[in-house]
Symmetry: C2
Subunit: 317 residues, 2 copies
């Protein structure tokens, strides 16, 4: 699915062919979103994955909660599967052939990630960065004068990695488009980069992350320390209060925040947004442990999970 | 109401005396919270106010929404009233005598603000600050060696006003208590201060603010500019999406954020928390206009109201 008509075509196909069974190959956040979408259309839905946990950007403890949420919503999750072929089915129209047997389906969706389509650019002599996406500077200019690039096809500066990456997300593309507009309309506007904020919804779960995780931190030359804590998303005695899990990653040498992950039925995205702002401001754990956040029991606890996580991680340094 | 037993006593009184009508004198955030509490107990509830709008910390446009929310929940709001006496009633047990006639009630609650109780401290020679609260340093020490003060009775450093204030809020008291604990247990811990984050719930409304408003900004020597915008709290096409209003105040000379207000049925507190973090990090409008926040339609719009407000205000400078 690369365009809106592709999505509409898929929906029509499911309806016209009276599809009952869908397979998603892959377990990233697009696979998670599609699983919810297909279940909401009433499809029997199975995820077929080469690994054992979904959404590798997130920690094992959080990924296991995603598995529970899939299970609670009757999405099967088939692990350690190598896909070798698609063949015609008997009861269903298709069979997905894997190293652990066949899986019947009326529709099979591959959600295996994206690569920037840069052939056109490369052919005209535009430099492609080591990420495989078009190299731009902060003004969105390529190596060829007056040729700009924005969006999923190009790189973006990651403020925590301190390096250029390809992160094909809609908000980044929009921001780059605005920078481009300013520049081609005669202004001089530069894009200050990203910190890696991202989120997806999985049925009743908010899943979000920002910055970098430990393995990324190590590859960037940091010395990461981390902690996971669970707290109440709002005042624990309030009706409807739910738990939220927070993981913080910081640099041992400087105490600076490097990244965060969050999951829960409420309050995960809002925490990640605060922590994204903290990353933007290059804050350390002492700052975050004392941040002045708006407190009232219907909306928060007197010490927020953010504070508690930062205090706990501070002690590990 | 200064203690939990006071609150329980009030609830018992309402029940035992079969109270039907309650009056709240005052229209600050405690008055708003009490109005909701009393309505939820089934009381006919009236707010009697010397002015015309509630919650003066917030702008007229936002205060008018609070009035609508009170009205929608059948709380009457009597304006321009000077209270002169309380007398015995006829149908009800009490009458509140005002310059515009009497108001009957079974219970009358005064919610007119608080002043720190510092008599004990002043009597022993502890310096009282210009706010009327106990003067402390960042280590929570008073002018007398080994005598500390924390909580509603003492001052706190406001990072945006760059001055000491009295802001009697529970989260600040908790933070100061933790600093004190660190210091009396032999550590050396200082409190980095506050930015003025605060919030209350009014029936279905989230109301929140941080930093300072224009009149405070002027009194602190800033040259404030401001804007109010309305946007969708989550993707506008999502089921259940609600509007959120944001006001930003910035300094014309530096472009730095000075304060923010927000109101709406969802997403007001989460925006104020991000902006509180931005205030903590001394960020300017260019930073805020480009902040990397987690985007997915179930939880946000591709440009968040925070971005749009900062972009709009940036143009005014």
């Amino acid at each position: 699915m690369k365009s809106l008509p592709d999505a509409l075509r898929m929906k029509s196909y499911l309806k016209d062919k009276k599809c009952r069974k869908a397979i998603i190959v892959g377990a990233g956040f697009i696979a998670m979103e599609m699983a919810e979408g297909l279940r909401n259309l009433g499809m029997e839905t199975a995820i077929v994955h080469r690994g054992i946990l979904p959404a590798s950007r997130w920690d094992k403890e959080f990924a296991e909660l995603m598995l529970k949420e899939l299970d609670r919503n009757s999405v099967s999750f088939l692990v350690n599967r190598q896909v070798t072929a698609i063949e015609g089915g008997k009861g269903s129209s298709l069979r997905l052939i894997t190293n652990q047997g066949d899986v019947p389906a009326d529709m099979i969706l591959f959600a295996l990630g994206v690569r920037p389509n840069v052939k056109f650019a490369a052919d005209m002599g535009i430099t492609i960065g080591k990420s495989g996406a078009i190299e731009v500077n902060a003004f969105q200019v390529t190596n060829i004068e007056n040729v700009y690039a924005v969006g999923d096809c190009c790189e973006v500066f990651h403020r925590i990695r301190k390096d250029w990456v390809n992160m094909p997300l809609g908000d980044i593309a929009n921001k780059q488009g605005r920078i481009l507009g300013g520049n081609i309309a005669g202004g001089i506007v530069s894009f200050p980069g990203i910190v890696g904020a991202q989120t997806f919804k999985l049925f009743d779960l908010e899943v979000a992350a920002t910055g970098i995780n430990e393995s990324e931190a190590e590859s960037c030359g940091y010395n990461p320390v981390s902690t996971i804590i669970w707290g109440s998303a709002i005042g624990a005695v309030m009706p409807g209060a739910k738990k939220v899990g927070i993981k913080l990653v910081a640099d041992r040498a400087t105490g600076k925040l490097l990244g965060a992950q969050a999951i829960g039925e409420m309050g995960a995205v809002s925490r990640i947004n605060v922590l994204s702002c903290a990353l933007w401001g290059d804050m350390n754990l002492d700052d975050i442990a004392n941040l002045d956040l708006a407190y009232t029991p219907p909306f928060s606890t007197v010490w927020d999970v953010i504070h508690i996580a930062a205090q706990k991680l501070r002690k590990q340094i």
